[in-house]
């Protein structure tokens, strides 16, 4: 089957694109919150162990699968599994890798619109008005207080920004891999890092902003984030491991269908070992080196510990930080560029979520770019409209994020690493991985990929299910308690949420549709296999 022969124009291009996909709001908002919550030392030990045992190995496996599948003419997760797993059902192993990015896109572009909207509101001074209630502003802007109100189009509303973001994403994705995604990431990633460094310098040179509160200074702000508590005790806490491993897993964008598609546009002679490691390292610099030094110390200096504790990702980013910037000298400028930073981090991620769907439609059904973009645009618009309309308590967004953006990723990543380590075999996988490699991975990773990564990943997944689905309290014996979490109660509890039910129904319908499309595409691949890539 004929399909477009696109490719990255440089090695740095794909590295920046993968890093751009990985760097998102979690780097600047979620990671610092978790590190502060669990105490710098123990959390960072668990975090780096997870980086070595989960992040790097799955990254290598996914890059290798993608490039190998691409050399056989396939670009999408189902297509690549079809090519690699010698079974008529192999293609279905990659189906979730198509569902995840589509569902995540439907709510991620909504969050992206918040960032753009906050940047504009900060620029015109709306976020630094005296007496502004930031919680109320956030609820009004995002529609978190009532369903339907987010469909308004003033500067204080998210509506117009959702439309802008949607059009921007599809414009760039329509331009293709090299002229669209790569061009955006080549400018956006350096700009993002530059802005983060500027904000970092501002935060680290604030000293003691309020002389009346000498304890709230930059050193104590860093201490609040990095001071280790009892490390041995911390490392015995399964919740800490779950938080650290989960953060590594999601921050690197591994295992959900994006990297496998991106790397399919490489040739067999191109390196994946160093490229994957560099993309991971770039993400870590943004997360640990920049995010870890900006958000929490800044919030601590102006609001103290009480202003930070208990804040989630959105609370920290869209309620706490605007207050911080409003009290900071030159705050309007720094608030504006900080939300532009978040917007750049978001758009480089959202773009990556569209490409797997485009690739699947083109290679599975021979659709041309306009048709595939239009079809995917329609599907994602339905999902986004659902999230946009049912904005009360961000219920629709939260439902999508949990069932597709979290749980399904665990499943797809587990499938990926098991197929790599046991399906094709680690020896064969290792050989494929090192074709064209600029550096050699340490041999110990063969053992890690075969035994440690799948075991560790399964352990984290089981822990995640026990905690977030069955509501285990992490106690044993008679003290152990299981109480289904709100995600479960929303579906089958005594007072179910119709929005949550509709959200899960949407994910289920999409999953079944993609299974059907995969079946049909599989017939096309069998009768008219794609021509192998240029190698």
């Amino acid at each position: 089957m004929s399909h477009p022969k696109e490719a990255w124009s440089s090695r740095l291009g794909i590295i920046l694109a993968v890093a751009g996909s990985a760097v998102g709001l979690g780097n600047f908002l979620r990671f610092p919150g978790l590190a502060a919550q669990y105490g710098g030392g123990a959390f960072m030990i668990a975090y780096f162990i997870s980086f070595l045992l989960i992040g790097i190995p799955i990254g290598w496996a996914e890059w290798t699968f993608g490039r190998h599948g691409g050399s056989l003419g396939y670009r999408s997760s189902p297509g690549i599994f079809h090519a690699i797993v010698k079974s008529r059902y192999g293609k279905f192993l990659g189906t979730i890798g198509l569902v995840i990015p589509i569902v995540i896109y439907t709510y991620y572009c909504y969050i992206e619109a918040w960032c753009l909207g906050y940047a504009l509101n900060a620029a015109v001074g709306n976020l630094s008005q005296p007496g502004l209630n930031y919680g109320e502003f956030f609820a009004n802007f995002t529609g978190a207080m009532t369903d339907g109100v987010a469909l308004r189009f003033g500067i204080y509303d998210v509506g117009i920004f959702v439309l802008i973001v949607f059009v921007l994403n599809f414009y760039f994705i329509y331009r293709g891999i090299s002229k669209g995604i790569e061009t955006v990431c080549k400018y956006a990633m350096p700009a993002l890092i530059l802005i983060a460094v500027i904000v970092l310098v501002r935060v680290l040179t604030l000293g003691t902003p309020d002389p009346a509160k000498p304890d709230q200074n930059v050193i104590n702000g860093l201490g609040f984030m990095w001071n280790p508590r009892d490390i041995a005790e911390g490392l015995k806490n399964p919740q800490l491991w779950l938080a650290a491993a989960g953060q590594i897993f999601f921050t690197l964008s591994i295992g959900f269908g994006v990297i496998i598609t991106y790397s399919s546009y490489l040739s067999r002679k191109d390196d994946v070992v160093l490229s994957s490691l560099t993309a991971c390292a770039t993400n870590e610099v943004c997360e640990v080196g920049l995010g870890g030094l900006i958000t929490i110390p800044a919030a601590f200096m102006f609001l103290g510990a009480a202003g930070i504790v208990g804040q989630g990702t959105f609370g920290l980013g869209f309620q706490v930080l605007p207050q911080v910037f409003a009290r900071m000298p030159g705050g309007e400028i720094f608030a504006t560029i900080f939300f532009i930073l978040l917007f750049l981090a978001a758009i480089t991620s959202s773009l990556s979520m569209l490409q797997p769907g485009i690739a699947f439609l083109e290679e599975g059904f021979g659709l041309k770019r306009k048709a595939s973009v239009a079809f995917l645009g329609l599907v994602t618009a339905c999902g986004s409209l659902f999230v946009w309309y049912f904005s009360k308590d961000l219920k629709a967004l939260d439902t999508f994020d949990f069932w597709a953006g979290t749980l399904m990723i665990f499943v797809q990543a587990t499938i990926l690493i098991i197929v790599f380590a046991w399906g094709i075999g680690v020896e064969k996988g290792w050989q494929l991985m090192h074709e064209g490699a600029v550096i050699r991975a340490p041999s110990v990773f063969k053992f890690v990929i075969k035994y440690v990564t799948p075991t560790f990943l399964l352990a984290v997944f089981v822990l995640f299910l026990l905690n977030n689905v069955f509501g285990w309290n992490f106690a044993f014996g008679e003290a152990a308690r299981f109480e289904p979490t709100s995600y479960v109660r929303d579906l089958i509890g005594p007072e179910p949420s119709q929005v949550a039910r509709a959200g899960v129904l949407f994910i289920g319908a999409l999953f079944v549709s993609i299974l059907t499309l995969t079946h049909l595409a599989g017939k096309n691949w069998t009768t008219r296999p794609p021509s192998p890539g240029r190698n």
Binding site: I15, F48, G176, K179, G223, W226, E362
Partner: protein, 50 residues
């Protein structure tokens, strides 16, 4: 900020910066594969980038 906090910060930030610097050095040092990697001309004109 306790000494443990400084150690935690310096090891974490220093570690990722070192890894990143080494990776970028190796990426820039490695030769680009002309005509292989930089193949950007679509073979199928109907699917050409705009």
């Amino acid at each position: 900020m306790t000494p443990g906090g400084w150690i935690s910060l310096i090891l974490s930030v220093g570690g990722v910066l070192t890894l990143f610097s080494w990776c970028i050095y190796r990426v820039l040092k490695a030769p680009e594969r002309e005509h292989d990697l930089a193949h950007i001309e679509p073979q199928d004109r109907a699917h050409a980038d705009e």
